[in-house]
């Protein structure tokens, strides 16, 4: 029932918006900045038919360290892909960024270790050996708080590179559950993965975000964008092959087999009970409040921020 209402409302609002946009026409090409190279995690964006919603969108691939949340704030791009934790930090610093669509309902961040170590929980990884982490990230600090780093050697995250992992049995690293483990298995390694959500930390990931200012000035445009993206993801989830082909051309470092495998592994993160009820990309106040509370506890933000300001489901 809820789904019906949402859909109809969306249609009623898009019709005049379409007309308006058609009138203003393709004078402005919108920029959407990704925070990594074209990979299955962005499949729905490449699958989207923006023109159908009266938009012309230029997708800008990113890489290691692309500062998408700052780019949105600075106005150098119209939309960007960030994660929920980045949004909370940004907002606490006065950068008015708002989430519109959460591709990954659950965080695919995790830790990958060699299966031969017979580890049973995420805490075990911290008992021995080396762990490559981005120590600034909230989940890293949560791990430190919970388990302490006194028995493990912490080194910087190699950003997707698994060479050190393959060379050293006692080497574990932060990873995207949809990415590095697959690459490692292909190279013959036997891996065990632990999702970060195991310790209760589960931010929305691969989140489409926009600046608050732009959202207030142009709500219809943001709505059209969200709608286009939702459709794109529906299309991609139904059949990822053609878009995988397209993304492979843009990012030849990943072969088509891997594209297919990753697309499959990532689906349960994208399509969940919540999205089946409320539509792809949905977000809830509760999830945001939990995350904000975790940040407050970590001391990363000095004051709680209202969850409602962080996101808008259009």
């Amino acid at each position: 029932m809820l789904l019906h209402r949402v859909q109809r409302r969306a249609f009623l609002k898009t019709a005049p918006a379409l007309a308006l946009l058609a009138a203003c026409s393709k004078s402005t090409t919108l920029k959407l900045a990704l925070n990594w190279k074209p990979e299955p995690e962005f499949g729905g964006f490449y699958a989207a038919t923006f023109s159908k919603h009266g938009l012309a969108v230029d997708i800008l691939p990113g890489g290691s360290g692309t500062p998408t949340v700052q780019m949105i704030g600075a106005g150098s791009v119209d939309f960007g892909i960030v994660s929920a934790d980045e949004i909370i930090l940004a907002r606490s610093h006065g950068n008015d960024v708002v989430a519109l669509f959460a591709v990954f309902q659950d965080s695919p961040t995790g830790i990958m270790a060699h299966a031969s170590r017979n580890l049973t929980s995420i805490g075990d990884v911290l008992m021995d050996g080396t762990l490559a982490l981005e120590s600034g990230l909230p989940f890293a600090r949560l791990l430190k708080r919970k388990f302490g780093f006194s028995h493990v050697k912490i080194v910087p995250s190699p950003g997707g590179d698994i060479t050190s992992f393959l060379h050293d049995e006692k080497f574990a690293q932060q990873c995207y559950l949809t990415s590095e483990p697959i690459a490692a298995r292909r190279k013959g390694a036997s891996v065990k993965v632990f999702a970060v959500s195991e310790i209760g930390y589960d931010p929305y990931t691969t989140v489409l975000a926009v600046s608050g200012e732009s959202l207030r000035k142009n709500p219809d445009r943001a709505k059209a964008m969200a709608a286009a993206v939702r459709e794109g993801w529906q299309s991609y989830l139904a059949d990822p092959k053609p878009v995988n082909q397209q993304m492979h051309q843009l990012n030849p470092t990943m072969d088509l087999d891997t594209f297919a495998e990753v697309a499959e592994v990532q689906s349960p993160f994208i399509e969940t009970d919540a999205t089946r009820r409320n539509g792809l990309g949905t977000m809830s106040r509760e999830r945001w409040e939990t995350l904000i509370a975790q940040f407050k506890e970590l001391g990363d933000i000095s004051q709680t921020i209202p969850a409602d300001e962080c996101f808008q489901v259009l």
Binding site: G65, V69, Q70, G73, A74, E86, L89, A90, H93, G94, N95, T130, E134, S135, G136, L137, K153, I154, V155, P156, P158, D161, T163, S164, H167, D300
Partner: protein
């Protein structure tokens, strides 16, 4: 002496005041460029962490720099021995100059592991070439009449190298060292991005925490380190060359 210290301080103070005003008044957003007062506060709040990081980076860059100086001069001396040697090996020296450090650093980690040894290796790779190039140039550009003089009195090539060509090359050696010093700091920090530790790791962590004030604080300290090294070389150069070289008068 007062003038040399005072003069550069004036633009620094002016710039700091202007930056502070721009951020406070909202012309520049604080999460893009931090106000100088915020950077100062970050420095004070995290002073223990920053000082320890500064020490680690200093060790890494200094060690890398000293290696560059010694190896660079030695390589230049070897290259100067014959035209053929130069033609065969100089292109490989140029490789150190042109290789993108950020691409090589991960390789260094694979070879040397995570730790300060990789930071030193990175600092070395970044800073060795200017020493080689400048020293070689200095050795090869010895005054021909002086070389004739040594030849006239039967000095062997080795004697000519140590008593004439190397001392004559000293001003250029110092020029190379001056350039190399700053590069060693950069190299160390790039190494730290990948291998951990020092100011590089502070920058990396602060960046992921969106603590741009802390990033600036760390970067500022790195610049101070580079300046300090540069100043040290200048002092050495002055003490060594002051009686005889126009550049020091």
């Amino acid at each position: 002496m007062k003038k040399t210290l005072l003069a550069p301080l004036i633009p620094f103070v002016l710039l700091t005041l202007i930056a502070e005003f721009l951020v406070r008044a909202g012309f520049v957003r604080a999460y893009l460029v931090p106000a100088p007062s915020a950077v100062l506060r970050a420095m004070i709040d995290s002073h223990a962490e920053l000082l320890q990081a500064l020490f680690a980076t200093s060790v890494g860059s200094l060690a890398g720099f000293v290696m560059s100086a010694l190896t660079g001069i030695a390589i230049a001396v070897l290259l100067s021995s014959s035209r053929g040697v130069q033609r065969a090996f100089y292109p490989y020296a140029i490789f150190f100059q042109t290789v993108p450090l950020i691409a090589v650093a991960p390789l260094l980690v694979i070879w040397f592991g995570f730790g300060i040894q990789t930071v030193i290796a990175s600092a070395f790779v970044a800073s060795v070439f200017p020493v080689i190039a400048n020293t070689l140039s200095g050795i090869l550009s010895t005054d021909p009449p002086l070389r004739d003089l040594f030849k006239l009195y039967g000095a062997s090539p080795l004697v000519t190298l140590f008593k004439l060509r190397l001392p004559a090359a000293l001003p250029q050696v110092f020029t190379g060292l001056r350039v190399s010093a700053g590069l060693a700091v950069i190299g160390a920090i790039v190494g730290e991005f990948i291998a951990g530790g020092g100011l590089g790791s502070v920058v990396e962590t602060a960046r992921t925490q969106q603590r741009i004030d802390k990033v600036f604080a760390a970067v500022l300290l790195a610049s101070v380190l580079g300046l300090a090294l540069f100043g040290l070389i200048n002092l050495l150069s002055h003490l060594t060359l002051r009686r005889w070289h126009a550049s020091e008068q």
